[in-house]
Protein backbone atom coordinates (compact mmCIF):
# COMPACT_ATOMS: atom_id res chain seq x y z
CA UNK A 1 0.00 0.00 0.00
CA UNK A 2 1.25 3.48 -0.82
CA UNK A 3 1.13 5.62 2.27
CA UNK A 4 0.36 9.25 1.63
CA UNK A 5 2.21 11.91 3.59
CA UNK A 6 -0.35 13.10 6.12
CA UNK A 7 -0.27 16.30 8.11
CA UNK A 8 -2.24 16.38 11.35
CA UNK A 9 -0.96 19.77 12.48
CA UNK A 10 -3.53 22.17 13.92
CA UNK A 11 -2.83 25.86 13.33
CA UNK A 12 -4.42 28.59 15.43
CA UNK A 13 -3.21 32.21 15.33
CA UNK A 14 0.16 31.21 13.94
CA UNK A 15 0.82 28.55 16.58
CA UNK A 16 0.47 24.79 16.23
CA UNK A 17 -0.45 21.52 17.90
CA UNK A 18 1.06 18.38 16.42
CA UNK A 19 -2.27 16.55 16.35
CA UNK A 20 -5.92 17.55 16.68
CA UNK A 21 -6.78 15.72 19.92
CA UNK A 22 -6.90 17.79 23.09
CA UNK A 23 -8.28 17.04 26.55
CA UNK A 24 -11.14 19.16 27.89
CA UNK A 25 -11.06 21.67 30.71
CA UNK A 26 -12.09 20.36 34.11
CA UNK A 27 -11.66 16.72 33.19
CA UNK A 28 -7.84 16.60 33.15
CA UNK A 29 -6.86 18.82 36.09
CA UNK A 30 -3.58 20.52 35.29
CA UNK A 31 -2.16 17.48 33.50
CA UNK A 32 0.06 15.94 36.16
CA UNK A 33 -2.77 13.85 37.64
CA UNK A 34 -2.88 11.65 34.53
CA UNK A 35 0.87 11.34 33.94
CA UNK A 36 0.94 7.58 34.56
CA UNK A 37 -2.34 6.86 32.76
CA UNK A 38 -2.15 8.72 29.45
CA UNK A 39 0.76 9.51 27.11
CA UNK A 40 0.85 13.29 27.52
CA UNK A 41 3.42 13.63 24.77
CA UNK A 42 0.84 12.34 22.29
CA UNK A 43 -1.77 14.95 23.21
CA UNK A 44 -2.55 17.82 20.85
CA UNK A 45 -3.11 20.10 23.84
CA UNK A 46 -4.17 20.08 27.48
CA UNK A 47 -6.96 22.48 28.44
CA UNK A 48 -6.58 23.03 32.18
CA UNK A 49 -9.19 23.36 34.90
CA UNK A 50 -10.60 26.90 35.04
CA UNK A 51 -8.44 29.46 36.81
CA UNK A 52 -10.11 32.40 38.58
CA UNK A 53 -8.33 35.31 40.31
CA UNK A 54 -9.33 34.12 43.79
CA UNK A 55 -9.29 30.60 45.19
CA UNK A 56 -12.68 28.90 44.87
CA UNK A 57 -13.77 26.05 47.11
CA UNK A 58 -16.53 25.02 44.73
CA UNK A 59 -20.12 23.93 45.29
CA UNK A 60 -21.60 21.99 48.18
CA UNK A 61 -21.45 18.24 47.40
CA UNK A 62 -22.82 16.10 45.87
CA UNK A 63 -21.28 17.57 42.74
CA UNK A 64 -21.61 14.56 40.45
CA UNK A 65 -24.37 12.23 39.30
CA UNK A 66 -24.74 9.39 36.82
CA UNK A 67 -27.34 9.93 34.09
CA UNK A 68 -28.10 7.82 31.03
CA UNK A 69 -25.54 8.51 28.33
CA UNK A 70 -23.30 10.62 30.53
CA UNK A 71 -23.03 12.46 33.80
CA UNK A 72 -23.96 15.66 35.59
CA UNK A 73 -21.42 17.90 37.28
CA UNK A 74 -21.61 21.03 39.36
CA UNK A 75 -18.04 21.53 40.50
CA UNK A 76 -18.40 25.29 40.77
CA UNK A 77 -15.01 26.19 39.27
CA UNK A 78 -13.13 24.87 42.31
CA UNK A 79 -9.53 25.96 41.72
CA UNK A 80 -6.55 27.21 43.76
CA UNK A 81 -6.77 30.81 42.46
CA UNK A 82 -4.31 32.70 40.27
CA UNK A 83 -1.54 33.15 42.81
CA UNK A 84 -1.38 29.51 43.89
CA UNK A 85 -1.79 28.48 40.29
CA UNK A 86 1.36 30.41 39.38
CA UNK A 87 3.26 29.08 42.37
CA UNK A 88 2.18 25.45 42.47
CA UNK A 89 0.84 24.50 39.06
CA UNK A 90 2.94 26.60 36.70
CA UNK A 91 6.22 24.73 37.36
CA UNK A 92 4.43 21.51 36.43
CA UNK A 93 2.86 23.08 33.36
CA UNK A 94 6.32 24.23 32.27
CA UNK A 95 7.44 20.63 32.14
CA UNK A 96 4.42 19.31 30.19
CA UNK A 97 5.44 17.76 26.87
CA UNK A 98 2.48 19.28 24.97
CA UNK A 99 0.79 22.68 24.63
CA UNK A 100 -1.03 23.87 27.77
CA UNK A 101 -4.07 26.09 27.29
CA UNK A 102 -5.36 27.76 30.43
CA UNK A 103 -9.12 27.86 30.90
CA UNK A 104 -9.94 31.31 32.30
CA UNK A 105 -13.07 32.09 34.30
CA UNK A 106 -14.43 34.82 36.52
CA UNK A 107 -17.43 36.53 38.00
CA UNK A 108 -16.77 39.90 36.35
CA UNK A 109 -14.96 41.37 33.34
CA UNK A 110 -12.18 42.47 35.69
CA UNK A 111 -11.73 38.89 36.87
CA UNK A 112 -11.19 37.62 33.34
CA UNK A 113 -8.87 40.51 32.46
CA UNK A 114 -6.79 39.97 35.59
CA UNK A 115 -6.13 36.32 34.76
CA UNK A 116 -5.53 37.01 31.06
CA UNK A 117 -3.12 39.90 31.73
CA UNK A 118 -1.15 37.85 34.21
CA UNK A 119 -0.80 34.97 31.77
CA UNK A 120 0.06 37.21 28.80
CA UNK A 121 3.49 36.44 27.31
CA UNK A 122 3.98 33.55 29.68
CA UNK A 123 6.37 31.28 27.79
CA UNK A 124 4.97 27.99 29.09
CA UNK A 125 1.40 28.79 28.10
CA UNK A 126 0.28 28.11 24.57
CA UNK A 127 -2.91 30.16 24.83
CA UNK A 128 -6.06 30.73 26.84
CA UNK A 129 -9.57 29.38 26.56
CA UNK A 130 -12.20 31.71 27.94
CA UNK A 131 -14.90 29.89 29.86
CA UNK A 132 -17.99 32.03 29.32
CA UNK A 133 -20.26 29.05 29.49
CA UNK A 134 -20.06 27.48 32.91
CA UNK A 135 -23.60 26.70 34.07
CA UNK A 136 -22.51 26.02 37.63
CA UNK A 137 -21.81 29.40 39.17
CA UNK A 138 -24.21 32.13 40.18
CA UNK A 139 -22.30 35.13 38.88
CA UNK A 140 -20.56 35.36 35.56
CA UNK A 141 -19.92 32.07 33.88
CA UNK A 142 -22.74 31.44 31.50
CA UNK A 143 -24.12 34.99 31.69
CA UNK A 144 -21.20 36.09 29.52
CA UNK A 145 -21.78 33.27 27.10
CA UNK A 146 -25.48 33.66 26.40
CA UNK A 147 -25.70 37.33 25.45
CA UNK A 148 -23.82 38.21 22.23
CA UNK A 149 -23.37 41.87 23.22
CA UNK A 150 -22.01 41.06 26.68
CA UNK A 151 -19.76 38.41 25.17
CA UNK A 152 -18.52 40.73 22.42
CA UNK A 153 -17.53 43.37 24.91
CA UNK A 154 -15.71 40.83 27.11
CA UNK A 155 -13.80 39.41 24.14
CA UNK A 156 -12.87 42.90 22.97
CA UNK A 157 -11.28 43.69 26.32
CA UNK A 158 -9.59 40.30 26.55
CA UNK A 159 -8.13 40.85 23.08
CA UNK A 160 -6.40 43.95 24.40
CA UNK A 161 -5.16 42.12 27.48
CA UNK A 162 -3.88 38.97 25.84
CA UNK A 163 -1.68 38.66 22.74
CA UNK A 164 -1.47 34.88 22.29
CA UNK A 165 -4.12 32.52 20.95
CA UNK A 166 -7.48 33.52 22.43
CA UNK A 167 -10.06 30.75 22.31
CA UNK A 168 -13.66 31.39 23.35
CA UNK A 169 -15.63 28.43 24.65
CA UNK A 170 -19.26 28.61 23.62
CA UNK A 171 -22.30 27.53 25.56
CA UNK A 172 -24.95 25.34 23.93
CA UNK A 173 -27.51 26.83 26.32
CA UNK A 174 -28.60 29.53 23.86
CA UNK A 175 -31.29 29.88 21.21
CA UNK A 176 -28.85 30.55 18.37
CA UNK A 177 -25.23 29.61 18.92
CA UNK A 178 -24.13 31.33 15.70
CA UNK A 179 -24.87 34.72 17.33
CA UNK A 180 -22.40 34.25 20.17
CA UNK A 181 -19.93 32.67 17.73
CA UNK A 182 -20.07 35.69 15.42
CA UNK A 183 -19.77 38.12 18.34
CA UNK A 184 -16.62 36.38 19.57
CA UNK A 185 -15.10 36.31 16.08
CA UNK A 186 -15.92 39.96 15.43
CA UNK A 187 -14.08 41.08 18.56
CA UNK A 188 -10.92 39.16 17.84
CA UNK A 189 -11.22 35.58 19.09
CA UNK A 190 -8.72 33.32 17.31
CA UNK A 191 -10.77 30.14 17.67
CA UNK A 192 -13.93 28.77 19.28
CA UNK A 193 -14.38 25.72 21.49
CA UNK A 194 -17.77 24.24 20.93
CA UNK A 195 -19.51 23.08 23.24
CA UNK A 196 -19.52 23.36 27.00
CA UNK A 197 -21.96 21.27 29.06
CA UNK A 198 -25.71 21.35 28.49
CA UNK A 199 -27.83 22.40 31.48
CA UNK A 200 -29.39 19.31 33.02
CA UNK A 201 -31.00 17.99 36.19
CA UNK A 202 -31.83 14.70 37.84
CA UNK A 203 -34.28 14.17 40.68
CA UNK A 204 -34.28 11.22 43.07
CA UNK A 205 -37.95 10.24 43.33
CA UNK A 206 -37.39 8.45 46.64
CA UNK A 207 -35.86 11.38 48.50
CA UNK A 208 -37.72 13.85 46.22
CA UNK A 209 -34.58 15.94 45.95
CA UNK A 210 -32.23 16.77 43.09
CA UNK A 211 -29.16 14.50 42.98
CA UNK A 212 -26.89 17.52 42.61
CA UNK A 213 -27.07 19.82 45.60
CA UNK A 214 -27.33 22.94 43.41
CA UNK A 215 -30.31 21.55 41.55
CA UNK A 216 -29.23 22.06 37.95
CA UNK A 217 -25.85 20.98 36.64
CA UNK A 218 -23.79 20.52 33.49
CA UNK A 219 -24.68 17.49 31.38
CA UNK A 220 -21.79 15.89 29.47
CA UNK A 221 -20.93 12.58 27.83
CA UNK A 222 -21.99 10.65 24.75
CA UNK A 223 -25.64 11.74 24.95
CA UNK A 224 -24.73 15.36 24.14
CA UNK A 225 -22.67 14.51 21.05
CA UNK A 226 -25.47 15.18 18.55
CA UNK A 227 -25.95 18.61 20.16
CA UNK A 228 -22.23 19.33 19.86
CA UNK A 229 -21.93 18.12 16.28
CA UNK A 230 -24.93 20.21 15.22
CA UNK A 231 -23.48 23.25 16.99
CA UNK A 232 -20.11 22.85 15.26
CA UNK A 233 -21.78 22.40 11.90
CA UNK A 234 -23.84 25.57 12.29
CA UNK A 235 -20.99 27.61 13.73
CA UNK A 236 -18.59 26.49 11.01
CA UNK A 237 -20.90 27.99 8.43
CA UNK A 238 -21.17 31.24 10.38
CA UNK A 239 -17.50 32.03 11.12
CA UNK A 240 -14.15 31.59 9.44
CA UNK A 241 -11.94 31.07 12.50
CA UNK A 242 -11.02 27.50 13.53
CA UNK A 243 -13.43 25.53 15.71
CA UNK A 244 -12.41 23.01 18.35
CA UNK A 245 -15.24 20.52 18.69
CA UNK A 246 -16.17 18.74 21.89
CA UNK A 247 -19.09 17.15 23.66
CA UNK A 248 -19.44 13.40 24.03
CA UNK A 249 -16.38 12.28 22.09
CA UNK A 250 -15.39 8.76 23.15
CA UNK A 251 -13.84 7.11 20.09
CA UNK A 252 -12.30 7.84 16.70
CA UNK A 253 -15.61 7.88 14.84
CA UNK A 254 -17.02 10.43 17.28
CA UNK A 255 -14.01 12.66 16.66
CA UNK A 256 -14.33 12.21 12.89
CA UNK A 257 -17.97 13.34 13.05
CA UNK A 258 -16.82 16.64 14.55
CA UNK A 259 -14.02 17.07 12.00
CA UNK A 260 -16.46 16.39 9.17
CA UNK A 261 -18.93 18.87 10.65
CA UNK A 262 -16.28 21.56 10.42
CA UNK A 263 -14.04 21.33 13.45
CA UNK A 264 -10.27 21.74 13.02
CA UNK A 265 -9.51 19.93 16.26
CA UNK A 266 -11.36 18.18 19.07
CA UNK A 267 -11.24 17.68 22.84
CA UNK A 268 -12.03 14.61 24.89
CA UNK A 269 -13.74 15.27 28.23
CA UNK A 270 -16.04 12.91 30.09
CA UNK A 271 -14.78 9.85 28.17
CA UNK A 272 -11.42 10.28 29.95
CA UNK A 273 -13.21 9.22 33.11
CA UNK A 274 -13.99 5.86 31.56
CA UNK A 275 -10.56 5.40 29.96
CA UNK A 276 -7.72 7.94 30.18
CA UNK A 277 -6.04 6.43 27.10
CA UNK A 278 -8.91 7.36 24.77
CA UNK A 279 -7.22 10.54 23.42
CA UNK A 280 -4.14 8.50 22.47
CA UNK A 281 -6.34 5.93 20.70
CA UNK A 282 -8.25 8.64 18.83
CA UNK A 283 -5.05 10.31 17.62
CA UNK A 284 -3.95 7.03 16.11
CA UNK A 285 -7.42 6.35 14.76
CA UNK A 286 -7.67 9.69 12.96
CA UNK A 287 -4.31 9.12 11.26
CA UNK A 288 -5.40 5.67 10.14
CA UNK A 289 -8.67 7.05 8.77
CA UNK A 290 -6.79 9.77 6.89
CA UNK A 291 -4.35 7.20 5.54
CA UNK A 292 -7.15 4.87 4.40
CA UNK A 293 -9.27 7.60 2.87
CA UNK A 294 -6.54 9.59 1.19
CA UNK A 295 -6.85 12.68 3.37
CA UNK A 296 -3.61 14.61 3.57
CA UNK A 297 -4.48 17.34 6.05
CA UNK A 298 -7.19 18.12 8.55
CA UNK A 299 -8.66 20.77 6.28
CA UNK A 300 -9.50 17.99 3.79
CA UNK A 301 -12.27 16.93 6.15
CA UNK A 302 -14.25 20.09 5.70
CA UNK A 303 -14.83 19.76 1.99
CA UNK A 304 -16.04 16.22 2.49
CA UNK A 305 -19.22 16.99 4.27
Amino acid sequence: MVTTQIDTTVRIAGKTWTNPVGVASGTFGFGEEYASLCDLEQLGAIFTKAVTPEKRDGNTPPRLANVDGGMLNAIGLANPGLESFLQLKMPKIESLPCPAIINVAGASVDDYIKVAETLNHHEAIWGIEVNVSCPNVDHGGMAFGTNPKVLGSLVKQLRKAYDGPLIVKLSPNVTDITETARAAEAEGADALSCINTVTGMKIDVNTRRPLISRGTAGFSGSAIRPIGVAAVWRVSKAVSIPIIGLGGIGCTNDALEYLLAGASAIQVGTALFSNPKIPNDITKGIEEYMQENGFQSLSDFHGHF
Binding site: G26, S36, L37, P61, L64, G69, G250, F273, S274, N275
Partner: protein, 257 residues
Protein backbone atom coordinates in the same frame (compact mmCIF):
# COMPACT_ATOMS: atom_id res chain seq x y z
CA UNK B 1 1.54 7.69 54.84
CA UNK B 2 1.54 9.31 51.45
CA UNK B 3 -1.03 8.75 48.75
CA UNK B 4 0.05 6.55 45.90
CA UNK B 5 1.84 8.73 43.37
CA UNK B 6 1.62 6.51 40.33
CA UNK B 7 -1.54 4.52 39.89
CA UNK B 8 -1.40 2.03 37.07
CA UNK B 9 -4.07 1.15 34.55
CA UNK B 10 -4.15 -2.48 33.48
CA UNK B 11 -6.10 -5.49 32.41
CA UNK B 12 -7.51 -7.88 34.99
CA UNK B 13 -9.22 -11.27 34.73
CA UNK B 14 -11.87 -12.64 37.07
CA UNK B 15 -10.47 -15.76 38.76
CA UNK B 16 -13.13 -16.29 41.43
CA UNK B 17 -16.60 -14.82 41.95
CA UNK B 18 -18.91 -15.90 44.75
CA UNK B 19 -21.88 -14.73 46.78
CA UNK B 20 -20.78 -13.92 50.36
CA UNK B 21 -24.08 -12.63 51.77
CA UNK B 22 -27.52 -11.74 50.52
CA UNK B 23 -26.89 -9.05 47.89
CA UNK B 24 -23.09 -9.09 48.39
CA UNK B 25 -20.44 -10.74 46.24
CA UNK B 26 -16.69 -11.21 46.38
CA UNK B 27 -14.74 -10.94 43.15
CA UNK B 28 -11.10 -11.94 42.84
CA UNK B 29 -9.15 -10.42 39.97
CA UNK B 30 -5.74 -11.29 38.57
CA UNK B 31 -3.45 -8.71 36.97
CA UNK B 32 -2.06 -9.26 33.48
CA UNK B 33 1.02 -7.26 34.48
CA UNK B 34 2.47 -6.60 37.94
CA UNK B 35 1.30 -3.38 39.63
CA UNK B 36 2.18 -1.56 42.86
CA UNK B 37 0.76 -3.32 45.97
CA UNK B 38 -2.13 -1.43 47.58
CA UNK B 39 -2.49 -0.78 51.31
CA UNK B 40 -5.64 -1.27 53.41
CA UNK B 41 -8.07 1.59 52.86
CA UNK B 42 -6.92 2.30 49.33
CA UNK B 43 -9.22 1.69 46.40
CA UNK B 44 -9.24 1.08 42.66
CA UNK B 45 -11.67 2.09 39.93
CA UNK B 46 -13.24 -0.53 37.71
CA UNK B 47 -14.11 0.35 34.12
CA UNK B 48 -17.82 0.63 33.50
CA UNK B 49 -18.97 -2.32 31.39
CA UNK B 50 -21.37 0.11 29.64
CA UNK B 51 -19.12 3.14 28.97
CA UNK B 52 -21.35 4.99 26.48
CA UNK B 53 -24.36 4.59 28.78
CA UNK B 54 -22.76 5.15 32.19
CA UNK B 55 -19.20 6.36 31.59
CA UNK B 56 -17.92 6.79 35.13
CA UNK B 57 -15.60 4.12 36.46
CA UNK B 58 -16.76 2.75 39.81
CA UNK B 59 -14.54 2.91 42.91
CA UNK B 60 -14.19 -0.14 45.18
CA UNK B 61 -11.93 -0.75 48.16
CA UNK B 62 -9.40 -3.59 48.12
CA UNK B 63 -10.44 -6.39 50.50
CA UNK B 64 -7.46 -8.75 50.05
CA UNK B 65 -4.26 -8.39 48.11
CA UNK B 66 -2.23 -11.17 46.54
CA UNK B 67 1.11 -11.08 44.73
CA UNK B 68 -0.63 -11.02 41.35
CA UNK B 69 -4.11 -9.82 42.14
CA UNK B 70 -6.69 -8.79 44.71
CA UNK B 71 -10.29 -9.23 45.79
CA UNK B 72 -13.09 -6.86 46.64
CA UNK B 73 -16.47 -7.26 48.27
CA UNK B 74 -19.36 -5.41 46.72
CA UNK B 75 -23.03 -4.81 47.20
CA UNK B 76 -25.39 -5.18 44.24
CA UNK B 77 -26.74 -1.66 43.97
CA UNK B 78 -27.36 -0.26 40.50
CA UNK B 79 -26.42 -0.50 36.84
CA UNK B 80 -22.75 -1.39 37.11
CA UNK B 81 -22.80 -3.65 40.16
CA UNK B 82 -25.83 -5.53 38.78
CA UNK B 83 -24.00 -5.96 35.45
CA UNK B 84 -20.68 -7.14 36.90
CA UNK B 85 -22.50 -9.53 39.21
CA UNK B 86 -23.13 -11.63 36.07
CA UNK B 87 -19.44 -11.91 35.13
CA UNK B 88 -18.25 -15.50 34.90
CA UNK B 89 -14.69 -16.53 35.79
CA UNK B 90 -12.44 -15.56 32.87
CA UNK B 91 -14.13 -12.19 32.20
CA UNK B 92 -11.63 -9.43 31.47
CA UNK B 93 -11.88 -5.82 32.54
CA UNK B 94 -9.50 -3.06 33.54
CA UNK B 95 -8.68 -1.32 36.78
CA UNK B 96 -6.84 1.84 37.80
CA UNK B 97 -5.11 1.71 41.16
CA UNK B 98 -3.96 1.83 43.83
CA UNK B 99 -5.66 5.13 44.62
CA UNK B 100 -6.14 7.28 47.70
CA UNK B 101 -4.71 7.45 51.20
CA UNK B 102 -4.72 4.23 53.25
CA UNK B 103 -5.52 3.68 56.95
CA UNK B 104 -2.52 4.44 59.21
CA UNK B 105 -1.36 1.88 61.80
CA UNK B 106 -2.45 2.68 65.38
CA UNK B 107 -0.52 5.08 67.53
CA UNK B 108 1.77 3.12 69.83
CA UNK B 109 0.09 1.14 72.64
CA UNK B 110 -3.42 1.79 71.39
CA UNK B 111 -5.77 -1.09 70.70
CA UNK B 112 -7.40 -0.93 67.29
CA UNK B 113 -11.21 -1.09 67.21
CA UNK B 114 -12.62 -1.56 63.72
CA UNK B 115 -16.28 -0.88 62.99
CA UNK B 116 -17.86 -1.77 59.66
CA UNK B 117 -21.29 -1.87 58.10
CA UNK B 118 -22.60 -2.53 54.59
CA UNK B 119 -20.06 -1.84 51.83
CA UNK B 120 -17.52 -0.85 54.50
CA UNK B 121 -16.73 -4.49 55.22
CA UNK B 122 -14.17 -4.82 52.38
CA UNK B 123 -11.67 -2.17 53.49
CA UNK B 124 -12.10 -3.12 57.18
CA UNK B 125 -11.37 -6.74 56.25
CA UNK B 126 -8.16 -5.58 54.54
CA UNK B 127 -7.22 -3.52 57.59
CA UNK B 128 -7.86 -6.40 60.00
CA UNK B 129 -5.45 -8.57 58.00
CA UNK B 130 -2.80 -5.83 57.87
CA UNK B 131 -3.07 -5.20 61.62
CA UNK B 132 -2.84 -8.88 62.51
CA UNK B 133 0.22 -9.28 60.28
CA UNK B 134 1.76 -6.40 62.21
CA UNK B 135 1.15 -8.01 65.59
CA UNK B 136 -2.05 -6.22 66.63
CA UNK B 137 -5.15 -8.03 67.87
CA UNK B 138 -7.99 -5.77 66.72
CA UNK B 139 -11.60 -5.84 67.85
CA UNK B 140 -13.81 -5.94 64.75
CA UNK B 141 -17.45 -4.99 65.13
CA UNK B 142 -19.71 -5.73 62.19
CA UNK B 143 -23.13 -4.13 62.12
CA UNK B 144 -25.99 -5.20 59.91
CA UNK B 145 -29.77 -5.17 59.65
CA UNK B 146 -30.03 -8.96 59.76
CA UNK B 147 -27.94 -12.15 59.74
CA UNK B 148 -28.35 -12.82 56.01
CA UNK B 149 -26.52 -9.57 55.12
CA UNK B 150 -23.30 -10.41 56.98
CA UNK B 151 -20.57 -11.54 54.59
CA UNK B 152 -19.07 -14.92 55.29
CA UNK B 153 -15.32 -14.17 55.36
CA UNK B 154 -12.04 -15.61 56.65
CA UNK B 155 -11.19 -13.14 59.39
CA UNK B 156 -7.66 -13.50 60.80
CA UNK B 157 -7.43 -15.69 63.92
CA UNK B 158 -6.11 -12.92 66.16
CA UNK B 159 -9.02 -10.58 65.35
CA UNK B 160 -11.87 -10.50 67.88
CA UNK B 161 -14.84 -10.38 65.49
CA UNK B 162 -18.23 -9.38 66.96
CA UNK B 163 -21.41 -9.45 64.97
CA UNK B 164 -24.35 -7.16 65.67
CA UNK B 165 -27.75 -7.22 64.01
CA UNK B 166 -30.56 -4.70 64.31
CA UNK B 167 -33.15 -7.48 64.47
CA UNK B 168 -31.13 -9.76 66.77
CA UNK B 169 -31.07 -12.57 64.19
CA UNK B 170 -27.36 -13.12 64.83
CA UNK B 171 -24.81 -12.07 67.44
CA UNK B 172 -25.52 -9.04 69.59
CA UNK B 173 -28.93 -7.40 69.26
CA UNK B 174 -28.21 -3.76 68.40
CA UNK B 175 -25.99 -1.53 66.28
CA UNK B 176 -22.27 -1.99 65.72
CA UNK B 177 -21.38 -0.03 68.84
CA UNK B 178 -23.46 -2.31 71.06
CA UNK B 179 -20.63 -4.87 70.85
CA UNK B 180 -18.13 -2.64 72.64
CA UNK B 181 -17.65 -2.64 76.42
CA UNK B 182 -17.18 0.85 77.90
CA UNK B 183 -13.64 0.13 79.16
CA UNK B 184 -12.51 -1.16 75.76
CA UNK B 185 -12.81 2.31 74.26
CA UNK B 186 -10.33 3.88 76.66
CA UNK B 187 -6.97 3.22 75.06
CA UNK B 188 -8.35 2.45 71.65
CA UNK B 189 -7.81 3.81 68.17
CA UNK B 190 -10.96 3.68 66.05
CA UNK B 191 -11.33 2.83 62.38
CA UNK B 192 -14.68 2.85 60.63
CA UNK B 193 -16.21 2.42 57.22
CA UNK B 194 -19.91 2.16 56.44
CA UNK B 195 -23.10 4.22 56.63
CA UNK B 196 -22.59 7.86 57.61
CA UNK B 197 -24.61 7.68 60.87
CA UNK B 198 -22.54 4.68 61.98
CA UNK B 199 -19.25 6.48 61.29
CA UNK B 200 -20.52 9.57 63.10
CA UNK B 201 -21.44 7.49 66.16
CA UNK B 202 -17.96 5.91 66.12
CA UNK B 203 -16.37 9.34 65.91
CA UNK B 204 -18.46 10.57 68.85
CA UNK B 205 -17.48 7.56 70.93
CA UNK B 206 -13.83 8.19 70.09
CA UNK B 207 -14.18 11.86 71.05
CA UNK B 208 -15.75 10.92 74.35
CA UNK B 209 -12.72 8.75 75.08
CA UNK B 210 -10.22 11.21 73.70
CA UNK B 211 -9.15 8.52 71.26
CA UNK B 212 -7.91 8.94 67.70
CA UNK B 213 -10.28 7.79 64.97
CA UNK B 214 -10.22 7.33 61.23
CA UNK B 215 -13.20 7.26 58.89
CA UNK B 216 -13.24 6.01 55.32
CA UNK B 217 -15.74 8.07 53.34
CA UNK B 218 -17.76 7.45 50.24
CA UNK B 219 -18.49 10.18 47.69
CA UNK B 220 -19.34 10.21 43.99
CA UNK B 221 -16.16 10.12 41.89
CA UNK B 222 -15.51 10.90 38.25
CA UNK B 223 -11.73 10.83 37.68
CA UNK B 224 -10.60 9.08 40.88
CA UNK B 225 -7.14 10.64 40.48
CA UNK B 226 -7.57 14.16 41.86
CA UNK B 227 -8.27 15.99 38.61
CA UNK B 228 -11.99 16.83 38.58
CA UNK B 229 -12.73 18.09 42.14
CA UNK B 230 -15.95 16.09 42.05
CA UNK B 231 -15.45 14.04 45.22
CA UNK B 232 -15.35 16.98 47.64
CA UNK B 233 -15.58 16.19 51.37
CA UNK B 234 -16.42 19.12 53.69
CA UNK B 235 -13.77 19.78 56.35
CA UNK B 236 -14.31 21.07 59.86
CA UNK B 237 -12.14 24.15 59.26
CA UNK B 238 -13.99 25.09 56.06
CA UNK B 239 -13.18 24.14 52.50
CA UNK B 240 -13.05 20.68 50.99
CA UNK B 241 -10.64 17.84 50.44
CA UNK B 242 -10.80 15.16 47.77
CA UNK B 243 -12.02 11.71 48.78
CA UNK B 244 -9.85 10.22 46.01
CA UNK B 245 -6.50 11.77 47.02
CA UNK B 246 -6.50 13.14 50.57
CA UNK B 247 -9.10 10.43 51.39
CA UNK B 248 -11.00 8.19 51.38
CA UNK B 249 -9.52 7.71 54.88
CA UNK B 250 -9.64 10.89 56.96
CA UNK B 251 -8.77 11.76 60.53
CA UNK B 252 -12.35 11.93 61.85
CA UNK B 253 -11.61 15.06 63.86
CA UNK B 254 -10.92 16.99 60.68
CA UNK B 255 -14.29 16.24 59.08
CA UNK B 256 -17.35 18.50 59.19
CA UNK B 257 -19.85 16.04 60.64
Amino acid sequence: MTPSQFPSHGTVTVVSHTTVAQGYKRMELQYANPVPQPEAGQFFTLASPLPAFTPLRRPFAYAETFPNGFSFIYELRGQVTQAIAQWPVGTQSDVIGPLGTPFPLPTEQRKPILVAGGIGVGPIYALAHTLCKNGYAPIVSLGSREAALIPDLDWPASADVRICTDDGSKGIHGNALAALQPDESKDAEFYSCGPHPMMKAVYQLAQKNDAPSWSSLEEMMACGVGACQGCAIPMEDGGYERACVEGPVFDSRRLAW
